[in-house]
Symmetry: C2
Subunit: 567 residues, 2 copies
């Protein structure tokens, strides 16, 4: 009930609560999982062939000598599956106690706490005296041995909750031999059997190297990964989606839909909405398909067409001009956070700028103010880049030069691309107007949604998925494997039709050229421009651009009848 | 289900839908209302005494000769109540058909469509051949006679839906005698009995003048008002809350909570979140009490203390410094949209700037660029104001000078006050650091939420309330009164304990000095600094500032068990 009502005076004496009614209600939710995951005594381990369920070849097995060299001990491992006792496989899971460490790495994603909960529950199912230790503050906290004991009591209020605040997280990486050694010492001293890293592509790549390293030192400590990112860019033959993506996409879609409804109600503004997701545009695509706005920019498409900023603005201009003809001087445009890195000339500009900022860091810092720094930069940029930089609105030039990360790099996520597009489009439309090719009005608002979705209460889908992933991680501990990722497949089906897998991290690796060296990494999956989702957009975008087909998806529902918010 | 899943290919042939599963589900929701509102044959009209239920005196009856002069025909009207047949009152409601017009005025609020639906249903209950006409595009569309026939079929998809898109809305006002005459002609020509204006304080004040005007011309057309605003600033002895406030506050609170959870998960950012609500800080207060962030700025408090911008920044600085001592270099600060108009020196600056911009409009337009315009402004501002202006970050100076409305005024809602505070606070903290009084880190993000809430799917509370208000408006039409507002009282109780009232608009008027003239207006209710909500904040803000007491309220739930998201 609302605070504005006077009768509420009666509750004035109530003390501050730190857990809301909604949170309390959510802690009662029992995540759905494949039933086999709860019957450990019946579980059997089965090896899978080296092709994924769908028949796709394993990525890392295609005879790369690089992989073999870098992962002599783990490169040949094969995927395993946890199956019921009826299965022909004979290898039962040993039921004994374990001491396990767990750590969050990188940006938060809805469902993270459920991974820890599922892991804890699985370990206690294996043996009542199992122990779970959480490292606080990400990899940095692991290296400095900041740990706390976790049990079901400690996790009580974190069941089905958003955020990573149980342990915190961090951006520190685990990359060097010294770090591997330090990590091994911490785990050893704590007497842990295994470490579970809940992280993105980089963290899981690092997990693979750590697993290999520890095996090589005759350590018995195993390393396992759980795939996490709201960006949805860990996808391959095994991983159908990462936990957190569903919730974040739906949080953003709800906001986009509300704004779209405002646009058709007041009929006077274009709303440019930037959505989180830097290296891939999955979140923008998903939120776009859910809400059907007038223009959805997908970075991968811009890059594939090698579209210039000017061409993109002109394309937006065509949409605005055409809508103006039918009296529609309003609309909604979605912009992926990482857009400017997909625009070839901007990517080049960013690259050159970063290099110049790095090479002349101290000198630039000594220059007072934007004008002096900007002049210096122009003198160092190539002619084309200097021209591109000069063509940007002054605010954007400022953001590129003044907001820099600790390494001196331009912070792409801080560049307000949605404002950039608005300013360039407004200027373009003015030109068009003066040539008589446009007679509408162009009012605009800009929005950025990111932090609103990373720590939202997980949807039932993410609550289920993350909890199951934690359980699978626990089973991988029991199975005694290392360098594996916990995987659940069949996500679009009901929980009892899903399969619990362990997939070798090396089996998901591709070779990429990074800093001049061939490096094996779990690659980021970009939007597939031959995939179903993209094709659906292509088939409908013309209709969405010219008409008003906004879908009001509404906020995520946790209770009552199951509501599929899309088709 | 998610678009990212490949199995989704099967649905590729599905044609574009314009109504989502959620919307469809919501159209089935049956709003709760006082049961008497559905039994028209049993309804009786009762006059109320000239004091409100709570014993407060009617505002307009305190012997104002002004009111008597301006509203000779309507100033003495008394509140009425719709009661069941068991009541001692004898006046039954005449059940006959009516032709009624309805119009939205001003910014959208969740529940608007339900007002129209309730009104339509009540008119059809009165007589099957009643007619409802909706004027499109606000008062402007009314004056230009843009109308469409509304019936239950036309309203089908708009039941319990957000937005004002059924009719659109507008900012045009109904103020002059010519406009009243034009409005009378339109209504007359359409053969309408009554006009229902769904709007805010200004629109309802205008409705009172229009009612008086039409009565004076012997017209039989009645004018009725329905109180709408997400800002929650129409509150008086009769009106407990406006429809839309509940939904908007909860949408914002959900986002604030998600961001707060991000703050405690990553522990490295202060989030400054500006919330809609310009003339009063109710939305910020409500969202703040629901979520318990570290600092809640309330404009009315700033004004009451005559706090300067510098003092406010220093107060924020104390909070940041104190949190840093306990290792908390993160937090959440709520900023009301209208803040700068509550800061005395900024209010003076805005006033002077607006006057200068108006007096020298053409000359300023002839000056190219910000620097020239800023120099000119400095020459005209008072010494104090010139100093204040110069002390603002350059971006904010720019926003004040460059973003102007069609009348040349500074657009306060476009000034990014949250960025202003961040910039000034960062500078202040740097000073403190250099004096050895602070050793923390200050990273920040800024957010503005407004358009996300105005057209959201109404909460069950707003769906019920707005539908009932529409029904009451229909009953006022049947009662044959004019210059009345539809009111529902007892909102914090169950629907069957609520009372349906009609309150004379003149009874809610206060006299204000506007443009040098004493003018009767339905005043905007500011945050009451002796009220329960504010006192609760005062009692707890110290604890919230130093600790982490964030409440995760979650998104609005429409189904399942009733969830009071606050205490």
């Amino acid at each position: 009930m609302l605070f504005v009502f006077e009768h509420w005076k009666e509750t004035l004496s109530v003390t501050v609560k730190t857990i809301s009614v909604m949170q309390t209600a959510r802690t009662d939710y029992v995540p759905r999982m494949p039933p086999t995951l709860g019957k450990l005594a019946d579980l059997r381990l089965a090896e899978l062939p080296t092709t994924a369920a769908g028949g796709a070849p394993l990525l890392g097995t295609e005879g790369s000598s690089h992989l073999r060299e870098l992962f002599p001990l783990t490169w040949q491992q094969r995927p395993i599956q946890f199956v019921g006792a009826t299965h022909t496989s004979t290898q039962a899971l040993p039921l004994r106690s374990h001491k396990v460490g767990v750590v969050f790495s990188g940006g938060p994603a809805p469902g993270g706490h459920n991974v820890v909960w599922g892991l804890c529950a699985a370990l206690l199912d294996l043996a009542k005296d199992s122990e779970l230790w959480g490292f606080c503050g990400g990899i940095g906290g692991l290296l400095s041995d900041q740990a706390k004991r976790l049990d079901l009591e400690a996790l009580k209020d974190f069941r089905n909750a958003g955020g990573f605040d149980l342990l915190g997280t961090g951006r520190a990486k685990l990359e060097t031999a010294e770090q591997f050694a330090a990590c091994g010492r911490v785990l050893e001293q704590r007497g842990l059997d295994a470490l579970v890293i809940i992280g993105g592509d980089d963290s899981n790549t690092n997990a693979a190297f750590l697993a290999e390293y520890l095996l090589g030192t005759q350590s018995k400590i195993r390393v396992l990964g759980v795939p996490k990112t709201i960006d949805g860019d860990i996808k391959n033959a095994f991983i159908e989606a990462t936990f957190g993506f569903d919730t974040a996409a739906k949080v953003y879609a709800d906001l986009v839909a509300n704004i779209a409804r405002d646009a058709i109600s007041t009929r006077k503004y274009y709303h440019f909405i930037r959505l989180m997701g830097r290296s891939a545009s999955h979140l923008t695509l998903e939120a776009g398909l859910l809400t059907q706005p007038n223009f959805i920019i997908i970075g991968e498409d811009v890059a594939a067409r090698r579209q210039t900023l000017r061409e993109l603005v002109e394309e937006l201009g065509e949409m605005v001009k055409s809508r103006a003809k039918s009296g529609r001087n309003y609309g909604v445009v979605l912009v992926p956070e990482g857009l400017i890195e997909f625009i070839p000339e901007m990517r080049t500009l960013l690259g050159q700028t970063n290099a110049i900022l790095a090479d002349h860091r101290d000198y630039i810092a000594s220059l007072s103010g934007f004008t002096a720094q900007s002049e210096f930069l122009h003198g160092k940029l190539s002619r084309d880049c200097s021209h591109t930089f000069a063509s940007l609105p002054i605010d954007i030039q400022r953001q590129m030069l003044m907001d820099r990360d600790p390494h001196g790099n331009v912070v792409v996520s801080r560049i307000e691309t949605e404002k950039l597009l608005i300013e360039l489009l407004a200027a373009h439309l003015n030109e068009e107007k003066s040539c008589g090719r446009y007679s509408g009005t162009f009012g605009s608002h800009h929005h950025f949604f990111g932090y609103e979705g990373r720590c939202a209460l997980p949807s039932n889908f993410d609550a289920d998925y993350a909890y199951s992933l934690g359980r699978v991680a626990g089973l991988l501990v029991a199975a005694g494997v290392t360098g594996y990722m916990a995987v659940l497949s069949g996500l679009s089906r009901a929980a009892d039709e899903q399969q619990a897998l362990g997939v070798p991290l090396t089996a998901m690796m591709n070779l990429e050229l990074r800093h001049g060296r061939v490096t094996p990494v779990i690659s980021r999956a970009l939007v597939d421009l031959s995939g179903a989702a993209w094709n659906y957009l292509v088939a409908h975008r013309q209709a969405w651009a010219s008409g008003d087909h906004y879908q009001m998806v509404g906020p995520i529902q946790y209770f009552g009848p199951s509501l599929a918010v899309c088709h």
